[in-house]
Subunit: 341 residues, 2 copies
Amino acid sequence: MTKTKIRNMEEFAAISGISRPTVSKYFNDPSSVRPKTRERIEAALREHTYRPNIYAVNQNRKLTKTIGIVVPLLVDPYFAEIARTLEERCIRAGYRPTLFSAHGSAAHEAEVLDNLRALKPAGVLLAPLGRTSDRAALEAFCRDVPTLIFDSSVDELGLAFVGSDNVQFTTHIADYLCRTGEPPCFFEMKTPANPNAHRRRQAYINAMESFGHTSHVVSVDGEGWGIEEIGRLGGHDALARGRFATNTVLCSNDRLAIGLLTACYERGLRVGRGPDDAIRVAGQDGHPHSRFTCPPLTTISHDYDTVSATAVSALFRAIEGSVEPWKSTRIEGKLLMRDSA
Amino acid sequence: MTKTKIRNMEEFAAISGISRPTVSKYFNDPSSVRPKTRERIEAALREHTYRPNIYAVNQNRKLTKTIGIVVPLLVDPYFAEIARTLEERCIRAGYRPTLFSAHGSAAHEAEVLDNLRALKPAGVLLAPLGRTSDRAALEAFCRDVPTLIFDSSVDELGLAFVGSDNVQFTTHIADYLCRTGEPPCFFEMKTPANPNAHRRRQAYINAMESFGHTSHVVSVDGEGWGIEEIGRLGGHDALARGRFATNTVLCSNDRLAIGLLTACYERGLRVGRGPDDAIRVAGQDGHPHSRFTCPPLTTISHDYDTVSATAVSALFRAIEGSVEPWKSTRIEGKLLMRDSA
DNA sequence: CTAAATCCTTTACGCGCGTAAATTTTTGAT
DNA sequence: ATCAAAAATTTACGCGCGTAAAGGATTTAG
């Protein structure tokens, strides 16, 4: 490993004894050159460290090998986790993923998309903020860049949508709760940022009706992404004013549930499904932290692997030229039965 | 807003009535052209949407405007939060931050640095994995790229180090615990990934000695970044075998404490500082989740703002040519007194 | 062994912009 | 109005690589 520094492809081509255009061909697709040629190049690569200048490369390509991944809030471990799995799959497919977070703000989201456009990415995996998103900005972006929407659906936007089946989520866990105790109330934010929340509320109402129970939706105030605190404050309020009609609460998402658990603790309410427990609490999302709440949170988990695999493969099909009608794919979740409900 | 599409700077210059070199000058530093000229360019910019091609720009610059931010594990909200504040400061300073995570693996970390090198960043803010990092790879990288190390110190590596004052962290919270109840035991991983853990253990031992108490270190097995689970399993073991000599446990970090809280819950042990509580548990880090554990976790919080401000400003000084001797800056933390201890 | 097909080489141009040098225009103070 | 300084313009080259065209070399099929 002499590891001589090479300045450009010209020099590297000279050293490897191959012409520059052929070397260029190799870097764009190693299998496009004859095995013997390929071996000579790779031998030179072992001796001397050289990588094509990505700026020069991208300047002369219509489509870059960059994939943008945009999530609304990277501080939320749920998004961090899904971003991680997406990233990994992109790398394995030979692309260069770049990660962005809107940090919960629509202005940031628009700015991120603007910067992303300048990167001329081959494609983008976008989880929109939701309600607060600048819809026009999203549409304009999707017209210019092959974009696959995930997590939070926006009708007919982009190439396709891949996310979790919120109706199945809520129906499934509501069914579980009904079968194992009192029918659940539904605990949610009054003005959720994410459209999934509306699907979940409606699914709850429908499920309760089909099970022959009355539905009780408890909506609490609060704006923004400090969801645990909204759940805690709203939980205190709901508990103090007896707004939960039964001893079982199904939360719209895990972060809200975590806040509610804190409120229960602060009020001395024992949470769980034992005979001495005062209230059952369940969440939805399979948040990485849900295993470690006290008590561990019963929830329904996203199928991270299937969601990311489906999203990435749909995007790659589009990048490679396949034209398919807009389609929404929703992946079922798996119930995680734990001690909280 | 006619928003005509412009193909290149040549076209844009023609439209704005200014020569291309001057327009180029403007984009590199708007204040470097005469106010009247600047106004004409910005007027054209309002009419027609145009941004210089970043690939062509970066090809012809020695140093790009890119800043790399590398953290060991983005799924950990602590790192996500610090990354967010760093990102924001870079943007405000006119740079383009790009975020990377080593996903807890040294191989990934080396790969990230390799890709980063190809981006020719103006500078890098790097939080190394720690013990498992490929030290040689880090050193090689720091020779090529102006790199500021944060969070996890590596002696004399890069431009400088900025992080939290682990000694102050542990001393301060140990003091608090001693003054308000039984002296704490120290709960940690036997082979922690992060060197901060060693400083904290040593600070604990020193603090206990100076306070006139015996120190009790409980080290538990477990590898990797599933720290809550390690804390939970290790907690069960320590509790079952009576390894905690007092009723107070200071954990090496919040994630471990969160796992221990779960173990306590699962064993029916009441955590808190009330007369009916069996055990006090404290953490260290001010993890975003610590407010919502049950009970809320007493901990000592990183000063995210000061750490990120110090780190970013030190990097920018170096980028702008200031040569300063290697220096380690350690920021004090703030005690968050909550119910767990 | 010959012909056809494949792969490589040479040559050449272009991408969009940074940047330097020489020249012209504008500015601001006298 | 005069003149030096400041700023803009013109001209020109180079960055590192993609890519096309034409011809030569090598491989594969028959």
